[in-house]
């Protein structure tokens, strides 16, 4: 498929290309995770296909089903100069490795007074919409963004998938890269080899004047999907892809909201205590008196992800719900 259109590749291929190029450019980049080597078909969705054949099975290593051991091995190797990219197949499985991530990867630089640090990348996929039910599609970005020492990134395009992963691998600190599963097979321009997208920089995807919609990961595409309905309602929305959740780009968001006076934060995670709360809290503080309406948030309904298709659809933050929330915000 990737060659059906010239210079078009899938998001999945962009991640693979980033790993390929990073391993080629830097012999200290390592990849580990469940099923990721070629004898295991290069991962359950094939993102790491070809890596072990090209770089050898010491640098690209399939692991047992043992997330604590996976992150522990990544941490240890990173302490002495390697740059491991560890795959935790699904975000719900990061729960098994929380001690290694939160108590160790995120803290060793600080607790050692800067003697050591953990330049690891943790790649994990998630996202509702595949009928996988309650334990396979949660978004926990808010947990990790609340953890000093961690960085958290999400891509919604082929170029950001490539550029953010390259920057995450370059970064001297632990970076959690949250990949949305349902959009792996969407296509976009093939990234320029070596291209980097700086961490901490948001992107204004569509400029607008009436309100700002800040989102990330798949929800950016849903926000874009809301544009037509909003346009028909005569609403000009500025769409911002946050791209990095920790540290997030306050400058770009504040500049936009100062201009529009209205902000809707949209993400796939449930709303209460979610990442949207931090953005709302900062914006209401920094732009106090300058807002035309309260900062509003939209996210998945506050429950585990249901299996039943109609319920799953009702649960997800989709274009229609975003359009509705944005219109409601305009009336405030």
């Amino acid at each position: 498929m990737s060659d059906s259109q010239p210079n078009q590749i899938t998001v999945l291929e962009a991640y693979r290309q980033a790993l390929m190029d990073a391993m080629t450019d830097d012999g200290e980049v390592l990849v580990l995770g469940e099923d990721i080597a070629d004898p295991e078909e290069g991962g359950v969705v094939g993102i790491t296909k070809g890596l072990s054949s090209k770089f050898g099975d010491l640098r690209v290593r399939t692991t047992p089903i043992a997330e604590e051991a996976i992150i522990g091995a990544a941490i240890g190797a990173s302490l002495v100069g390697f740059k491991p990219v560890a795959e935790i197949m699904l975000m719900n499985f990061t729960t098994v490795a929380m001690d290694m991530i939160v108590n160790h990867a995120a803290k060793l630089r600080y607790m050692s007074g800067g003697q050591t640090h953990c330049p690891i990348v943790i790649r994990t996929m998630t996202g509702a919409g595949m009928s996988t039910g309650g334990q396979h599609s949660d978004y926990y970005e808010a947990w990790f963004a609340h953890t000093p020492g961690m960085k958290v990134v999400c891509a919604s395009t082929t170029e950001d998938a490539y550029g953010l992963l390259r920057s995450a691998i370059d970064d001297p600190d632990p970076v959690l890269m949250i990949e949305n599963l349902p959009i792996y097979w969407t296509k976009g321009p093939a990234p320029v080899p070596g291209h980097r997208v700086p961490l901490g920089k948001a992107k204004v995807v569509v400029p607008g004047t009436d309100l700002t919609i800040v989102s990330y990961s798949r929800t950016v595409l849903e926000s874009l999907g809301a544009l037509q309905a909003l346009g028909e309602a005569g609403i000009s929305a500025e769409i911002i892809d946050l791209r990095t959740i920790q540290p997030w780009d306050q400058e770009t968001v504040l500049a936009s909201v100062e201009k529009t006076g209205r902000l809707l934060v949209a993400h796939e995670a449930v709303v209460p205590f979610g990442a949207g709360a931090e953005i709302a809290a900062v914006v209401q503080e920094k732009l106090f008196g300058k807002l035309k309406a309260p900062v509003m948030r939209i996210g998945a309904s506050f429950n585990p992800v249901p299996f039943s298709k109609p319920l799953e659809a009702e649960h997800i933050t989709d274009a229609a719900k975003i359009a509705k929330a944005a219109s409601a915000l305009m009336k405030k």
Partner: protein, 325 residues
């Protein structure tokens, strides 16, 4: 091991369950491939003997904690076909009102307490159910099923050790189908045999051919009697194989052709079927009737499921919290 084999009636019971399980798996894959249902489906075809030979040793009141690849375990334990199908179809008449789906079935009436999609998680929870039996002295046992790959995760270790020091009536049933997703046993597992890991907990360990109904029956019986008698937990490693890959759609390219061919040639279902006839436990006609009956019940269950309504949208955020006391 108890050498003698179960009586004919029991063997026929085991076969009946195997026929139900096999028929249900074939129907499931058919219904998915024809697009009538969309669900993540983890075929257990080839593993039917294990839960069938176990279940005839269990009571309805015994507890089961199983996994995403666990519909065979649940059906053998007594989960009704209609409830199963309505659930995997995401309908309101499903055991979980369609909210759980194929990876999260629960059917308290038949002791199916938890179905988890998290590798290893069936084990620590089964201990809690076994603790409840110990407290109530009601003689129930709790069975946790899991795979070979799951024996490498921390939860396995913590659960077996706790069961040992608490002397819990937990049966840890490892269905070793030689692969964890796309990864071979030896690539992931340091132990020569998973049953050897019982030594690490000072508990009883049993290694058995999980495709041999007689051997599996005896192993299960020994384990259940041991646990029920209050002698503590048991780890069973039952050797088997899965014929249709990890999840529906997986072409199993990581499995050598010969290995797959040899496994299918040793399909335990026809082998046991022939044995029952050879041993004059049942006639070809009787077995064919059992299989025909399974198909009839499956027709009914699938029709029932597809005719059953979806849950109302208001169900999306109910059952999150109960009513505070």
């Amino acid at each position: 091991m108890i050498p003698n084999s179960p009586d004919g009636a029991t063997q026929l019971e085991i076969f009946k369950k195997m026929a139900l399980l096999k028929g249900n798996d074939e129907r499931s894959r058919k219904v998915i491939s024809t697009g009538r249902l969309v669900m993540p489906y983890y075929s257990y075809r080839g593993q039917e003997v294990i839960p069938s030979a176990l279940a005839v040793n269990l009571r309805d009141t015994d507890y089961l904690c199983t996994i995403y690849r666990g519909i065979h375990d649940m059906l053998a334990k007594g989960l009704p076909l209609r409830d199963l199908w309505a659930e995997v179809a995401g309908r309101v008449h499903g055991t979980c009102k369609g909210k759980g789906g194929p990876m999260h079935l629960t059917d308290v009436a038949h002791g199916v307490m938890v179905t988890t999609g998290i590798v290893g998680a069936s084990m620590p929870i089964a201990n809690g159910l076994a603790w409840a039996s110990q407290l109530r002295k009601d003689g129930r046992v709790a069975v946790a099923t899991f795979g070979d790959g799951a024996s490498n995760i921390g939860a396995f270790h913590e659960a077996l050790n706790l069961a040992s020091v608490w002397k819990l009536p937990t049966i840890f049933l490892c269905q070793n189908n030689r692969y964890g997703e796309h990864t071979k046993y030896a690539t992931a597992t340091g132990a020569a045999k998973i049953s050897d890991r019982a030594i690490a907990y000072g508990i009883k360990g049993i290694h058995v051919d999980g495709n041999d109904p007689i051997a599996m029956y005896n192993a299960a019986r020994e384990a259940v009697e041991h646990a029920r008698a209050g002698n503590g937990p048991v780890l069973i490693e039952a050797m088997t194989f899965r014929f249709h890959g990890h999840v529906f759609g997986d072409a199993s390219k990581y499995i050598p052709k010969e290995e797959m061919a040899e496994a299918i040639a040793n399909d335990p279902y026809p082998r046991f079927r022939t044995k029952l006839i050879d041993d004059c436990i049942a006639t070809e006609a009787e077995l064919a009737a059992i299989e025909a009956d399974v198909e009839t019940r499956l027709d009914d269950a699938v029709d029932y499921a597809l005719a059953s309504p979806f849950p109302g949208l208001e169900e999306v955020n109910t059952d999150v919290y109960g009513a505070a006391a």
